[in-house]
């Protein structure tokens, strides 16, 4: 009887503990898998969950192409309208590669070569009495553009309450062809693929993740150094000397501020909503007389759709100029793919 009682009690305890253990088993399994994050999984993080700079030893290559055209512009009064002064039409493709490497968990370097393929078209008709002549001009620029190299440092890493802060320094080197080439006449030549100037850019980027959302704020300043090159605007019909004449120039510096609100549509698709404001100071060409351009600014809305497929990320960007002055008003389309090694 005693034995039976003892058996019953211990059996009941065993049953209860056994059922508890079995009930807790799935949750214990979940707890373990959440904490065991493999390096390969870290490379599969989305644009929202990944750290602000690459982790040490991680390498990322991205390739993207962007397309735009010339149709509308914001004039000096900020009015958006079709370009009426000319029927110029352009197709521009920019192919850019970004190679990023994490030297430490907080320091990364970036190299960004670009390839340009842009074409400008315009057609004029000339009428003098009964005489009519149609002139069709097509100018193109095909080749490597300027090379950008950068260093990003994560000054503050993100904590539960604190956002991350990254300082980005980028040097743009004038490696692309800066002068028109193959000049046959004042309208028949190949356009340059480079800008012919050094640019130093400093950006500060704040980011806070509140999963499944993230928020960013950023401010940047680009300083354009003086350069010297041939400007096709100064070509004179039949004057071959004007085809070789170089001018010193300095493009206006740029201030940009922006922010974004980003969220996951599901575990692997993230939508970024970016808003940027750019302001350019006037460009100068030291010709006779000195040419001074106009101030220009633009407010852009830029939705970005990111598809994270393992270590691949496919992204689509549409950059839409919303407001502006002395600036093109046509959207920019960017399609890109990146892979983290």
């Amino acid at each position: 009887m005693k034995t039976v009682n003892k058996y019953n009690i211990s059996g009941t305890i065993k049953n209860i503990s056994g059922s508890l253990v079995l009930l807790l088993l799935p949750s214990l399994v979940n707890g373990q898998t959440e904490q065991q994050v493999l390096p390969s999984e870290l490379k599969e993080q989305t644009v929202i969950t990944e750290p602000a700079t690459l982790r040490k030893g991680f390498f990322r290559a991205s390739f993207f192409g962007s397309y735009t055209f010339i149709d509308q512009a914001f004039d000096e009064n900020g009015e958006k309208g079709y370009i009426l002064s000319s029927n110029v039409w352009a197709k521009s493709w920019y192919y850019q590669m970004a190679l990023e490497y994490g030297i430490t968990d907080r320091l990364q370097v970036i190299v960004e070569p670009e390839f340009i393929n842009k074409q400008f078209f315009y057609t004029d008709e000339y009428r003098l009495g009964a005489y009519t002549e149609t002139v069709y001009a097509k100018q193109s620029a095909v080749g490597f553009g300027d090379l950008a190299v950068g260093i990003d440092y994560q000054i503050l890493t993100e904590t539960g309450t604190r956002p991350s802060l990254v300082a980005k320094t980028t040097f743009t080197l004038p490696t692309g062809q800066k002068n028109p080439t193959g000049i046959k006449s004042w309208t028949d030549f190949k356009l340059p693929t480079g800008a012919g100037e050094f640019v130093i850019t400093l950006d500060l980027n704040l980011r806070k993740i509140i999963y499944p959302y993230s928020f960013t704020l950023y401010a940047g300043y680009a300083y354009f150094l003086e350069g010297e090159k041939i400007f096709s605007d100064y070509f004179e019909p039949g004057d071959e000397d004007s085809f070789k004449q170089t001018f010193r120039f300095k493009n206006g510096n740029r201030i940009d501020v922006g922010g974004s609100f980003n969220f996951h549509l599901n575990d692997w698709i993230a939508l970024q909503n970016q808003v940027f404001f750019f302001h350019w100071q006037p460009n100068k060409i030291y010709a006779e007389p000195v040419y001074t351009g106009d101030n220009a600014w633009c407010l852009n809305y830029q939705p970005v759709l990111n598809f994270q497929i393992r270590r691949f990320r496919l992204f689509e960007i549409v950059s839409v100029p919303v407001l502006g002055k002395n600036y093109g008003a046509d959207p920019f389309y960017i399609l890109g793919l990146l892979y983290t090694f």
Partner: protein
Amino acid sequence: MKRIYLLFIIAGLISPCWGQTGGNTDILTERVVDRPLTLHAGQLQINPGYQLSIGNRKFDADGDKIDLAKEGTAMVQHLYNLEIKYGILEFIEVSAALNYSSMGVREKQVWYFHGWETLYTTQLTECKGLSDLFVGLALRLPFDIDHFGWRVSAGASLPVANYKPEKPTHSSITVVDSLDVFQHVRFHYNDKAGNGTMIYHFGTTAQFFTDNMAITGWADYSLCFSEAENRYWESRLYEDEFSYHSVPYKTRPGNSLSYALTFDYQAIDWFDVFGRFSGMMYRGGYDEEEGIRIGHPEKNIMVVGFGYEIQVARHLRLFQSMDIPILGKNELAPLVIYTGASFNFLTR
């Protein structure tokens, strides 16, 4: 007791999976190849989208491709559309659709030299505004046939949008160059996107489908029975000022047949890719002014396209497509890129 343990174990192990698979089994997350040809009863679908058309080619009357960049008339159209559909019964669906579009066609610059005076003209024909409102009704077979679906549809474009061109906004300005003085005359026409008359639509869709593939044929015939009163504008330039007067005329849109054959492949439960062949034929419209009737040229175009659809979340689908014209006559041949979302809800 052991059976209870076992039930708990099984329930505990598979519960994390319910969240994933459960969402895939309801009618809002049906795979593309499994969806019937009309919405389910009580299903509300809201489809906003954006379409970019880059028009730098057209087909002439002989079917030859013309480079519009060379002609100086290349253009871009931005079109925003909103479509709302609702399943009244399991086999009856109603829908309404509205577009807003914006397009500007610039012409080549023309220079006139007369003595010491130089004048050049540019021309912009802008067309923007809301389209007519489309309302439609679609019915599908009220019973299931293995691997086959069929539906018929009818609808009308109600002439609610503005369709008469507004007064042009031409201008003449003096351009002072470092060397010369030119007169620049800008012609700027302001057209609208409406038709001005009711257009009726009758369509049918047939679909053959297997576990992972579907072939869908669709055709829609649109026709118009009545004329619309329209106008065009004439202008006169006198001492840098334009004066305008409108000239009335009657117009009747022609009849058109649109068709498409789509091949869907359901690569993953949430990812469908498709290729399609589509086209349009237009005949029979005319304009009539002072009793003289001028017929619209016959047009046709054939297009190949491809795209994908992603089931992003239970209520949200995303899709994108690209269409490339291959053959045609008397029709613009734009490259069309469409991006759309589909929000789906159950109201019952």
